[in-house]
Amino acid sequence: MENKLRQRQSKGNGELSDKSQAYLHIHAHALFSSLGRLVRNPFTSAMTIIVMAIAISLASGFYLIVVNMQQLTGNIESTNQISLFLKSNVSDTSAQKLADKIRNNNNVEQVKFISKFQALEEFKVYSGFGDALNMLDKNPLPAVIQVLPKNTLGDVQGVEVLMKKFNHFSQVDFAQMDMQWIKRLQTIMQIIERGVFLLSILLGFAVLFITGNTIRLELQNRRDEVLISKLVGATHSFIQRPFLYTGFWLGFFSGVVAWFLVMVMMNTLQNPIEKLSILYNGAFDVLYLGINETVYLLGITSLLGVIGAWVVLRYQIRQIKPE
């Protein structure tokens, strides 16, 4: 009696695990059978995957270009420093007095006076034109007062007001905000970044629709199978499962191919970029797709594949009816 009971229990457990195993088995089967189908039609699959990969590599290539360019502008700390270039007839003592006067301004954090002589020495060191400058009988450089406004002054407008005020000093030839060009470049970069973002969204939609269309054709080819499965009691989710996996594989493989395309592109660009980097005193290295970015790339493309398939399946499976 007890034995029988135990037997029945073990049988019950066996059935339960058999069922959950069946569920896993269905998924595994869908995963690999959809892969098998792609492999069995290598030409069609390759065409689709390459078209998708080109769209993806465009998006990720632009992304990398932006990231690399950001190095140019990002490294330079943005300050509101103003340079006052003094008229050439202003003496060092009079310039010092002016510097002291400016130092007393409430809106000024720091003032540094660079005399004509110091300016020339600095220029010799950094420009590499030292010998040429030695040949000049007169120092062509003006004296400069560098003014760092307080941060409390707010943004550009406040600094501009201050600058106008300095411009009125009789000793000052002209005042210039040092980082204005950086700010302009940064603004241009922001525009480019946003442009790349919008472009990526468009290309993402392209990937979505390419997958969707491929799945639609696949569904038409397997119409009989879908129909018969329906007639023996298959649910929509059962029928769409292998097609969703097909979408996944398409997205995944096009992500992998796109990764290679981007790597090849960056490799081709490496030489000229390195030359540029040398001109900037080695300010930056060529950035490739890192591990995190690669994982994101493959995750996003796989997800796009699944979504593209799902959108189509939602409507198309319903359309397949007997006769």
Partner: protein, 218 residues
């Protein structure tokens, strides 16, 4: 088991395929459905299998009102049925085993259970040992028997067969009919659409006769 109560089916451009049809099948009954072609035999089977919805009337399958079944529950109604078609509707790129296993796979049975039941079903129709073959490699009569094995593998309460012997010679037809009798003997309800009057009269079961969508004899 199956009850039709004043059921009509009207197609938008083809008029009435079924008109005010009422009948009742008891559990374990074997019944023929007959009439000239275009009389509505296929339509009647289709509304039971929910391949079509009836326009008017009430269909009760095993106590369940089919008019009230939501679309996403249709698969579960079909799992109670065993459907057999004149053209078998076998998947040509799958083995006999895989074809018969399909209803079990979609219902989420485990592998061992599937193997056991498929072999039992194939044994029943006398095709054990051919499970690794493909449909194109066996005869028409054997293909029809694979279709029957697929229909019974899920242990359905009701078998619906649409002209199951339409393409077979009399000897094979008799064999197939004998198979249906065996299922009926173990309590399965069987409804067979056929226009083979000779066969019907020889077997002597109850017949539902359709004429232009109307039930003229029951």
């Amino acid at each position: 088991m199956l009850k039709f109560d004043h059921v009509s089916k009207r197609y938008p451009n083809a008029g009435d395929a079924l008109l005010d049809v009422s009948f009742h099948l008891e559990k374990g009954e074997m019944v023929f459905l007959t009439g000239h072609s275009g009389a509505g035999k296929s339509t009647l089977l289709k509304v039971i299998a929910m391949m079509e919805l009836c326009s008017r009337g009430l269909i009760l399958l095993d106590g369940q009102n089919l008019n009230k079944v939501k679309e996403r529950h249709i698969p579960f109604v079909r799992r109670k049925l065993g459907l057999i078609f004149q053209d078998n509707k076998l998947l040509q790129d799958r083995t006999i085993f895989d074809n018969v296993a399909l209803p079990l796979i979609v219902s989420g049975y485990g592998r061992h259970e599937i193997a056991r039941r498929v072999r039992a079903a194939l044994d029943k129709v006398g095709l054990l040992g051919k499970e690794k073959k493909y449909p194109f490699a066996i005869s028409g009569g054997e293909q029809q028997r694979v279709g029957i094995a697929r229909a019974v593998v899920n242990k359905p309460r009701l078998i619906l067969a649409d002209e199951p012997t339409g393409n077979l010679d009399p000897e094979l037809s008799a064999e197939i009919m004998h198979l249906f009798e065996q299922f009926q003997q173990v309590g399965v309800t069987v409804l067979i659409a056929s226009h083979d009057i000779d066969l019907l009269t020889r077997m002597g079961y109850r017949s539902l006769v359709l004429d232009h969508g109307q039930l003229v004899a029951s």
